[in-house]
Subunit: 253 residues, 2 copies
């Protein structure tokens, strides 16, 4: 019987894939993926059969992967970031049509990798929000923006801006500004790739033209601050424990 | 000069750590961490100096790690899951006191790993919510629960229930029930560890006594459904594209 791995390969560099993900890819005779993600793992897939297609080819790609696994192949469907979040695991189950030998291997999602570049803006409760209205109606997205303001959540924004959706990001950040003031925004373009760029701006100084679909934006909550060019959302330890003593409990293994 | 790595080691099994994380740990002469997480990576740290302490020892642990890095050691501060989310990266920056040679290495957070066990409940916009009021006031958590209802978010609940906070989870799920009906809850205890247990319940049949602090709960949104014991939040592809044809663009590398 064939097997289908749905593998989250992380945001970019091969060294952020888990060992379990690497092994699944090595075990597979067929690799399916969006062209750009497959290119990121070229070193891992030398000599294997490859099926790539473009954005919006997700259903074709998933159907192809499932059909081949049904016919006995060991297939890895590679996904950028995590295998589930804004990714293909759910479509795989929706289209599996009785095929059950599916294993989802989680990965490091882009926002966690971006957070590591910015300092530690992700720390406590957070919302992951996509601004693509291709699959989610804009009315739902708008409601969620209001919900984020109400809960004063840190927000990781995926798919922030395409040619067709030029002004959505501005709309969202202005909504944040109205309710919560001039929040700090961490901006990471091409995270973990060769041409990575990192910026930290207040909403009021945000350069919208910098942003494309390969950019992740992490907007802090009202407690997030900037120190030594690092964006930090405090977890609350320093407020809670005003005094503490270090008593080493270290030992040698 | 010393160096401090803040390493997200994932939820459990060593094979979900990234290669970058493994290399950082191998390079380090001192490993600091919460006892339980350090035990998970025993195979990686043989022969190294270890500093462990208990929960609520976070500030002591971080201070120790920073001080030793300042004195020239290469230190890995290991964190369960990701290095930032509900974790120690922000406290490290808050306490760094001028020490700058800090590298955060992201990890797979428990909710992504739990999602992979349950099917694909995490798929689109999601809230990560901790029910611990040790560091976040309960009033803020309550407000966020209302925000989640308003935005109909999928929710990953961390720290759901301790001896002192027995009824918080019930309160939250009942709030969800009132506003959004009998949502599906995926429950993963000891995710990726030997004694892992996976349950899927509706809110109305939820067994609260099963839950402890090592349990992650993923509550679906109003679109989440159950099929073949898998919890699936649809991303919307099937609604969007009613028909499609598979035209293979596969090629051999």
């Amino acid at each position: 019987m064939g097997k289908l791995f749905v593998v989250g390969v992380g945001p970019g560099g091969i060294d952020l894939i888990s060992e379990r993900g690497v092994l699944a890819i090595k075990k597979s005779n067929l690799i399916c993926g969006y062209k750009r993600y497959v290119e990121l793992i070229t070193d891992l897939i030398n000599g294997k059969e490859i099926f790539t297609n473009s954005m919006k080819g997700e259903m074709e790609r998933v159907k192809f992967a499932i059909n081949r696994a049904k016919r006995g192949d060991t297939v890895s469907l590679v996904c950028g970031g995590d295998a589930s979040l804004y990714s293909l695991a759910s479509l795989v189950f929706e289209m599996s049509d009785g095929f059950e030998n599916i294993e989802v291997i989680p990965g490091i999602t882009a926002a966690m990798a971006a957070s590591a570049k910015l300092g530690a803006p992700i720390c406590e409760d957070i919302v992951f929000l996509s601004l693509s209205d291709l699959l989610t109606p804009w009315k739902v997205i708008e409601k969620r923006v209001d919900a984020i303001n109400f809960g004063d959540f840190v927000t990781a924004i995926y798919n922030p801006r395409s040619k067709k959706r030029k002004d959505y990001l501005k709309f969202v950040l202005e909504k944040f500004y109205q309710e919560r003031g001039d929040l700090i925004c961490g901006v990471v373009k091409n995270c973990e790739r060769e041409d990575e760029e990192v910026k930290i701006w207040r909403i009021s100084e945000f350069e919208y033209d910098f942003v494309d679909m390969s950019t992740i934006i992490i907007v802090g909550n009202t407690k997030t601050y900037l120190e030594n060019d690092k964006m930090i959302t405090p977890r609350g330890y320093l407020d809670k424990y005003k005094e503490f003593n270090v008593q080493s409990s270290g030992f040698k293994v």
